[in-house]
């Protein structure tokens, strides 16, 4: 018998209440495949908010589960380093890709300051019409009166088009963007199901560098334009970037804008489907779309955690963390912390202070593309509202089996003819 989403929730609620708290390993991929992590996090916030476990999968690590403790860690970059990596799984040695998300000051600051203006709201204003045009085209081409996969036909398609637009990437090759994102984030040593070896991964990344180097060379020799590659090629702080640095920054922009926005596009639809009163609210007051976008990002928390490594002994939430310890900030848990967010377990599209969530992080590493993500989601929901009074979710979602990327592989839907 296949368990439904509701079955999984009921079983997990019971297990999370009964299990000895010391045994809880919140990074268990089962909890993410079944979308049941919330129950274990609620238990931890209550009984072990800064929680140590020696995980058979992840090794020894600390989980920070309350909003304010997460904020304290996220803003203390002097003690909590983003090197060598920012996921619960350690990156392999010498993987070659340098992304500023996994760097500390001073190098982090130099890189971020170079890239940040490129995705600043003033710069993005020029993309709005193009984003809207592409969104309209995708929505207008959706099948009516038959079941299709929202993830494939909307979330992946739109996010890919968006990335291609921002890079002014040849549209016919745009499938390479999510492909390279997957290659960059899929580390064969850590993923037994990886379709490629370490050597194959390295080869693909070389091809990516070659492709972008060619684009770079075209753009650097042409007058400056509004796309991200041209901006990097002409930018004072970025035009002399070495190839590994260039690749690292490009990968970060692609990865950063890939799974995350994609999964918020799917998550928002599912949230409205499961909360029909909120959908009715949206139809009655379409101007709520901007606030709803923030609530969708909180609700989905597309990156469930970010990881740090302690550079010194330090106390957090009454617990003694030692130098060298792995410390995981569970944004997904902090975003359900009722001591900070009223009715945190409810999806409320007009909630006040909707922007005060952890999904983009806080401090010097706060998501540099956050306004771009919100812009895409806002345009998507504006255009959906103009077209589709009803979108039916007709089957169970299939979740990504990852404690990092909180996402969907499939969501079967149907738009009435």
């Amino acid at each position: 018998m296949t368990m439904t989403w509701a079955d999984h929730q009921a079983a997990a609620r019971e297990d999370a209440a009964r299990i000895a708290v010391a045994q809880i390993d919140p990074g268990n991929p089962d909890y993410f495949e079944n979308d049941t992590a919330a129950h274990y996090f609620a238990r931890l916030r209550r009984d072990s908010p800064v929680h140590f476990v020696d995980s058979p999968l992840h090794g020894p690590y600390w989980s920070v589960t309350r909003y304010q403790d997460i904020m304290a860690v996220d803003t203390n970059h002097a003690v909590f380093s983003s090197q060598p990596g920012i996921t619960i799984a350690d990156p392999p040695q010498g993987q070659g890709l340098q992304m500023f998300i996994a760097m500390d000051p001073p190098k982090h600051d130099v890189q971020r300051k170079a890239v940040s203006p490129i995705v600043a709201p003033a710069n993005l204003a020029g993309f709005q019409d193009l984003i809207r045009e592409r969104t309209c085209r995708v929505l207008d081409s959706l099948p009516r009166g038959e079941t299709f996969d929202w993830v494939e036909k909307v979330s992946i398609e739109l996010t890919t088009l968006m990335l291609a637009t921002l890079f002014d990437f040849p549209l016919d090759d745009r499938h390479l963007l999510p492909f390279w994102s997957d290659v960059a984030t899929d580390v064969p040593e850590l993923n037994p199901a990886s379709p490629r070896t370490r050597e194959q991964r390295s080869e693909e990344l070389h091809k990516m560098l070659a492709y972008f180097t060619q684009l770079w060379n075209e753009r650097v020799n042409a007058p400056p334009r509004g796309d991200l590659v041209s901006m990097l090629a002409h930018g004072e702080a970025t035009r002399n970037m070495g190839p590994l640095e260039l690749l690292g920054n490009l990968v970060l922009l692609i990865v950063g804008g890939n799974d995350t926005t994609r999964n918020s596009m799917t998550g928002g639809l599912l949230a409205l489907h499961r909360n029909p009163a909120e959908w009715a609210k949206l139809r009655a007051q379409p101007e709520l779309v901007e606030n709803m976008v923030s609530e969708i990002v909180r609700w989905q928390t597309p990156l469930a955690h970010m990881r740090r490594t302690a550079l010194a002994d330090i106390e957090v939430g009454g617990q003694q963390i030692r130098k060298g310890d792995k410390v995981v900030m569970w944004y997904l848990s902090g975003n359900r912390d009722e001591s900070v967010i009223a009715e945190a377990d409810k999806f409320i599209i007009d909630r006040p202070r909707a922007r005060q969530h952890l999904a983009f992080g806080f401090g010097i590493h706060r998501c540099v593309g956050n306004r771009l993500a919100e812009l895409q989601l806002k345009i998507l929901w504006e255009e959906i509202q103009k077209r589709f009074p009803v979108i039916e979710v007709v089957g169970e979602p299939v979740h990504v089996r990852s404690p990092f990327v909180r996402g969907f592989r499939h969501l079967p839907v149907r738009i009435p003819a």
Partner: protein, 106 residues
Amino acid sequence: MPSIHFISHDGTRRTVQAEEGQSLMRTAVDNNVPGIDGDCGGQCACGTCHVYIGAPWSDHLGEVGDNEDGMLEFTDCRQASSRLACQIRITPALDGLEVGLPEGQH
């Protein structure tokens, strides 16, 4: 209650009666002044309450703190007059304060 003047990037002026002891960010947000977001709720952790305060008013503010400076470094169009509104407390000395708003928060 001190009067605070918020001047948008496009020149629109909005005057607000502020509560002493509140942060400048909270004053803006509670009075629905567009252009200041304060995503982190005032914990100097997001840089989305970026404002411009020039002389002579800048003399009446505290010094830019280390954390504030760190976050200001990542704002768009940082100027010498840049401050984070969540780090500024309303006092009687700020009656008539002129606060410039950036084109957007990031």
